[in-house]
């Protein structure tokens, strides 16, 4: 009976305060040591019995794919974030004729699959442009003939749609008193935005932005379907050349796991460096 009670008490403690991240010491609990040993054995078994001889041969392709994925992530997230600021802002303070299209944009982007948006832009717009002679002769043509601008555009718009919603919430969530204080200081509307509203909103949105960035990373492999050679496409090439089922895909999952881990760790680092009072 007492044992049960103790277990119960432990349960309650767990419910009240979940450990945010296991410390180094927590890693060396007996059951975790056993699990790590099992995992290590699994890795060794995989390294011994599976075929990994393709790795050195395709290292160059994989590295360039990794670079493309990284570039796509950084460029589209930055552009999407810049777009999301006006999209979020006009929904909070803007006039009706600006707020409504912004809301419609967010609804459409968030209501349809990214794969469909990507194919709509690539196949749809891509099939439209060659029919317009003015575009064929313009300096843009070399870019419109290849796939990556469509990938960048689709990912940027998707990012802007999702983040626009986040920024709308963040702008709306900044305490009114702070904005009133800024106005009382005689700041112009633009100065208020630059000095108070925007920094406070970004600060509030930071934890969510971390999730959005991970989501953006997880969206990048979709561009492989429109012939952009990112990490996913590089692995697809390995699969086609070697006829291997498991190894390349497991390796790919492992690589993405590492990338997500790095992103999360980076955001944690920056979040800790930012001064925060309360929540």
């Amino acid at each position: 009976m007492t044992d049960q009670n103790n277990e119960h008490a432990a349960d309650l403690q767990d419910l009240a305060a979940p450990p945010p991240l296991p410390g180094l010491r927590a890693l060396f609990k007996p059951h975790r040591l056993v699990m790590m040993a099992v995992a290590a054995a699994l890795v060794v078994w995989m390294a011994m019995t599976m075929r990994w001889d393709w790795l050195p041969e395709y290292a160059g392709v994989l590295l360039s794919g990794l670079w493309v994925t990284f570039l796509l992530l950084v460029v589209t997230f930055t552009l999407g974030f810049l777009l999301s600021i006006p999209i979020g802002l006009v929904q909070v303070t803007g006039p009706r004729f600006l707020a409504w299209p912004a809301k419609a944009f967010c609804t459409i982007i968030r209501g349809t699959p990214l794969l469909l948006q990507l194919w709509l832009l690539y196949y749809g717009l891509g099939s439209l442009f060659p029919g317009i002679p003015d575009i064929r002769q313009s300096f843009l043509w070399p870019y419109l003939r290849v796939a990556w601008p469509y990938g960048v555009l689709a990912l940027t718009l998707s990012c802007a749609g999702y983040e626009g919603e986040v920024m709308r919430g963040a702008f709306a969530g900044v305490p009114k008193g702070e904005l009133e204080a800024a106005r009382a200081y005689g700041m112009s509307r633009f100065t208020i935005l630059r000095r108070i509203w925007l920094p406070r909103a970004i600060h509030r949105a930071l934890p969510t932005l971390n999730g959005e960035m991970v989501m953006q990373l997880k969206s990048t492999p979709l561009v492989a379907t429109i012939t952009v050679v990112d990490l996913f496409a590089a692995i697809s090439r390995v699969r086609q050349d070697t006829y291997l089922t498991y190894e390349p895909l497991l390796f790919l999952a492992f690589l993405y796991l590492c990338l997500t881990g790095i992103l999360v760790a980076l955001f944690r680092y920056f979040e800790r460096r930012l001064p925060t009072r309360g929540a």
Binding site: H31, R110, G111, T112, P113, Q117, V214, Y246, L257
Partner: protein, 237 residues
């Protein structure tokens, strides 16, 4: 300029193909969602009440599912998963099973959703005042009965926003099955567009269909949320 007759429901038009694709998408989404919720209930229970090993295994499951792109998971589970299943069956002397695309799709979507729903349900269960579960324990209810009678009903209002979000994500995740050649709405659209060369029209039409699903879901979700929260105080915003 726009040839609407391409969207006609009968064979010269492709509207019927698109609608069938939509139906397939919704079937996979519904099936995957249900599988995901079942995994989520057990996952959340395992994370909250399981032993240390189960807890860690669940943590690994949710971390991996949430960190690896859905598209990679779907390709991995769809190809490697069915292959591994057949290998296991073969090693036990059974004949290789021909797993239909629908079943594989539902399982894959379910496994992915299960990772997310574990987290949603875990959070919702933790939002229940602990006294309610303690009271059930004090009544001498068995853990399974507590789960069924107290925990699950009491956590539902807290879980509904998260679960609703998951449903919307599920409907959109089914589009990724197009990558492995499963003919749902997105792939059907691409086939129709490829044949007629009218890409813009068909992809826009499919977009409208997805949007309609989302908007109708939103209306239903709003209704369910209102019903689940009846009698509760409005959260301070």
């Amino acid at each position: 300029m726009i040839s609407w007759e391409l969207l006609a429901l009968s064979p010269p038009g492709w509207g019927g193909v698109l609608l069938r694709g939509l139906l397939t998408s919704l079937e996979v989404a519904a099936g995957g969602y249900i599988v995901g919720q079942i995994i989520g209930v057990f996952g959340a229970a395992g994370k909250l009440y399981g032993g240390p090993v189960i807890r860690d295994l669940m943590e690994i499951y949710t971390t991996v599912i949430r960190a690896v792109p859905e598209m990679v998971l779907i390709v991995l589970l769809y190809y490697a998963g069915t292959d591994a299943l057949n290998n296991i069956l073969a090693s036990f002397g059974h004949e290789a099973m021909d797993i239909s695309g629908m079943v594989a799709g539902i399982m894959v979507i379910g496994l992915v959703q299960g990772g997310y729903s574990t987290e949603v349900l875990r959070g919702a269960i933790k939002a229940i005042p602990p006294g309610q579960i303690e009271a059930a324990r004090a009544y001498g209810m068995a853990p399974a009965k507590i789960m069924r009678r107290i925990t699950l009903p009491a956590m539902l209002p807290h879980a509904i926003p998260g679960l609703a979000n998951l449903w919307l994500i599920t409907t959109k995740d089914t589009a990724l099955l197009a990558v492995v050649g499963f003919t749902e709405l997105t792939l059907a659209t691409r086939q129709a567009a490829g044949v007629t060369k009218d890409y813009l029209l068909f992809f826009s039409a499919a977009g409208v269909l997805y949007l309609i699903v989302t908007l109708i879901s939103n209306v239903i979700i709003h209704f369910i949320e209102k019903r689940a929260r009846r009698g509760m105080t409005r959260p301070q915003s």
